[in-house]
C-alpha cells in the first residue's frame, strides 16, 4: 500500500501546477483591481519563462533567473501601461499586441542565445521550500515526495496573504480599490490615478513573469514556445472565478492546478483515456466554471475604462 505516497504525489503535483497560475492570477488581480484589464498575462508569462530559463542557465543560479524574469515582465508590461493609462488605448487590443510581442521576443532571443534552437538548455531548479533538517527527516518516509515543493510555491501562497492584507487593510490598498471603482473620486481627493495604475500594472507584470519563470525553471526546466500554452488566459479565468480577490484567485488556481495534475496522473500511468482528451480538461473546466459563476461575480466598475480628467 503506497496510498500516502500517492496522495503526497498528487498534492505536490497540484501545488506545482498551481504556482505559475497563482502568480499570474495575483498579478491579474492587482492590475484589474486598479481598473486596467490585463489580457496580456499570456505574453508576459512567456517572456518570464524565457528570461527565467535563460538567465538561470547562464548565471547558473535559479534565484537570479527568477528575479530577472520578474523585471523583464515589468519592462514589457510597461508598454501596456503606457498605452492604457497614458494614451487611453483599447485595453484588449493593447493586451493582444503585448501577447504577440512577448511570444516574438522570447523565441527570437532563444534562437539567438541557443544557436538557432527554439528550445533553451535546461536550467537549475529552485530549491525546496523545506530547510535541510526537515527534508532529511522526510527522506525514506512515505511523505518524501513533498520535499519537491519549491520555495517559490511557498512564496506564492504567502503572497496571497500579503496581498489580501495590503488590499483590504492598508491605505495604499484602499486607494487602489477606489481607483478601480471610481477613479474620479481618487483624483478629486488629490490621489494620482496615473501613478496608482502604473504601479499596479507594473506589479502585475512582475508577478505574471514570476509565474512564467516558475514554469520554465521548476516545471519544464527549459523554455520552449509551448511552455506557457494558454496558462495566462487560464489565470485570467481563475481571477474572474475568484471574484477579483487574492484569496478567491488562490482557490480557483488550486482547482485548475488539480485538474492539470489529474491529467498527468491519469494519462501517464495507464493511458486508458487518451492523453489529448485529458489535456483538454483544464480548458473545459475553465469554461464550465465561467458559465456557472460569472453571473455572480462582480468586476471592479472601472475595469477596461480608460480614465480621463475631462469631466464633460
Amino acid at each position: 500500500m503506497r496510498i500516502p505516497n500517492n496522495i503526497a504525489l498528487i498534492f505536490v503535483g497540484t501545488l506545482m501546477y498551481t504556482t505559475p497560475l497563482l502568480f499570474a492570477a495575483l498579478g491579474g488581480v492587482i492590475s484589474e483591481l486598479s481598473g486596467v484589464m490585463n489580457i496580456a498575462l499570456e505574453g508576459i508569462m512567456t517572456v518570464g519563462a524565457f528570461t527565467g530559463a535563460s538567465v538561470s542557465y547562464f548565471t547558473n543560479s535559479a534565484f537570479v533567473g527568477f528575479l530577472a524574469a520578474g523585471f523583464a515582465g515589468a519592462l514589457l508590461i510597461l508598454l501596456h501601461a503606457v498605452a492604457c493609462v497614458t494614451f487611453r488605448a483599447d485595453q484588449t487590443i493593447s493586451g493582444t499586441a503585448i501577447n504577440f510581442l512577448g511570444g516574438g521576443i522570447s523565441i527570437l532571443l532563444t534562437k539567438k542565445l541557443f544557436n538557432g534552437s527554439a528550445l533553451s538548455a535546461s536550467a537549475p531548479k529552485l530549491p525546496s521550500a523545506f530547510p535541510k533538517f526537515v527534508s532529511n527527516r522526510l527522506k525514506g518516509t512515505d511523505l518524501e515526495a513533498i520535499n519537491a515543493i519549491s520555495i517559490a510555491t511557498l512564496f506564492a501562497f504567502l503572497l496571497v496573504f500579503f496581498l489580501w492584507f495590503f488590499m483590504y487593510r492598508t491605505k495604499w490598498g484602499l486607494r487602489i480599490l477606489a481607483t478601480g471603482e471610481h477613479p474620479a473620486a481618487v483624483d478629486s481627493l488629490g490621489g494620482s490615478v496615473f501613478k496608482i495604475r502604473y504601479f499596479c500594472v507594473l506589479c502585475s507584470g512582475f508577478l505574471a513573469a514570476l509565474g512564467g519563470a516558475f514554469m520554465s525553471i521548476s516545471v519544464t526546466s527549459s523554455f520552449s514556445p509551448v511552455t506557457i500554452c494558454g496558462q495566462g488566459f487560464i489565470a485570467l479565468g481563475a481571477l474572474i472565478f475568484g471574484k477579483w480577490t487574492p484569496q478567491g484567485a488562490m482557490f480557483s488556481c488550486l482547482l485548475f492546478g488539480f485538474a492539470r495534475e489529474c491529467t498527468t496522473m491519469l494519462g501517464g500511468q495507464n493511458g486508458f483515456v487518451s492523453q489529448a482528451l485529458l489535456e483538454m480538461l483544464p480548458y473545459v473546466l475553465t469554461i464550465a466554471v465561467l458559465i456557472l459563476f460569472v453571473g455572480r461575480s462582480l468586476a471592479p466598475k472601472a475595469v477596461g475604462v480608460p480614465y480621463t480628467k475631462d469631466l464633460r
Binding site: T96, I98, G103, G104, I107, L108, V226, Y283, I291
Partner: protein
Amino acid sequence: MNKFNLKKKLVPFFFALLGGFFVGGLCLICCGYDPINSYLAMLEGIFAKPKYMVQVIVKSAPLILTGLSVALAFKSGLFNIGAEGQYMVGLLVAALMGIKLSLPPVIHFLALFIAAVIAAGVWGAVAGFLKAKFGINEVVISIMLNWIAFYLHKYIFAQPWLLVRNLDASLPIRETARISIFQKFKETAQWKGMIAKNPLFSDIFKTDLNIGIFVALLAVILIHYFLNKTTRGFEFKTMGINHETASFVGMNVKRNTVLSMFIAGAISGAAGAIQITGVSPYRMTNLAGFEGYGNEGIYIALVANCSPIGCLFSGLFFSAIKCGSSLMQIKVGTPREIIKIITGVIIFFIAVPFLHKLILNYLQKKKENKLENTK
C-alpha cells in the same frame, strides 16, 4: 471629401507599419543581426521570382479569410480571438471528409467545404451563445475553445485509422476533393515539353496554386456587400457601436451576437478547408503548437481597420512579409520570429489611437525649430 477621408484613415496605418519595421530593426540590431540586409532579403523573398509572388498570393488566401472573420466580429462589437480554433475545426472536418468520403470531383469539395464551414460556424457560435446568454467575456471563452480545438486535433490525428506512422502524418485527402489548379496537367507529356521551353511557367506551376484566393475574393465581396447594403449588416454595425441603442430600437442583440460569431467562425472554417484541400501534402500533420492563421487574422483585421476590402490588402501584405521572412531566415540567418515583433508593434501603434499624431506634431515642431535656427 471622400479622398480626404481615405487619406486620413490611411495615415495612421502607414505610421503603424513604419513603426513596426523601425522597432523591428532596432530589435535586430540589439540581437546582433543586420536589419538592412535582413529586410532586403525579405523583399527578395517576395519579389525576386514570379514563383515567390505566386506563393504570396496562395498563402494570402487563408489569411484574408481569417482576417475577414475577425473584422466582421469586430464590426459587430465582438473580439473573435477564436479564429484559430475555428480554423482548426474547419480543417479537421474538411480533412476527415476528404479522406473518408468518396464522391465525384467538385461535389466532393463542395460537400466538405460546406460541412467544414458549418462545423466551424457552430464552434464560433458557442462563444457567441455564451456571451449572449451568460454575459461571459467572449475572449476568454474563445481562447479556451482554441485549446480545446487544438487537443481535439491531436486526439483525432492520433487515431490509428487515420495515421500513417512512419510519416507522422495522416492519410492524404482524396484527389477528388483537392482544389489545386493544373494538378492533372502537370503530369502530362505536354507539360514536360513546356518546362523545357519556358522556365517561367514551370516555376509558377511548382507552387500550390489553388482556387483558395478566389474563395477569399468572393468572401471579401460578399461580406462587403453584407455590411454595407443589407439590413442584417446594418444591425451588426449598430450593435457593434452601441448595443444599448440597438436593443432600444428593437434589434435582437442576443440573436445577432450568436449569428455574428457563427458567420465569423464559418469564414475561419473556410480558411481551414481551403488550406488542407489546396496545399500539399494534403495531409494533417502533427502539430507542436498553433499554426497561427487565426491569430494572424487579428492583426490583419486591425490593420485593415475592419474593412473587408482592407482585409484583402492587409492579408496580402502579411502573407508577403511571412513568405519573405522564410528566405530571410535561410539567406541571412535572421530568425523569422522578428515578424511577430513587427506585427506586435504594429498592433500597439494601432491600439494607441493618436500616437502617430504625437510623432507628427513632434516632427513638425522639430522642423519649425530648425527653420528658426537657420534664420
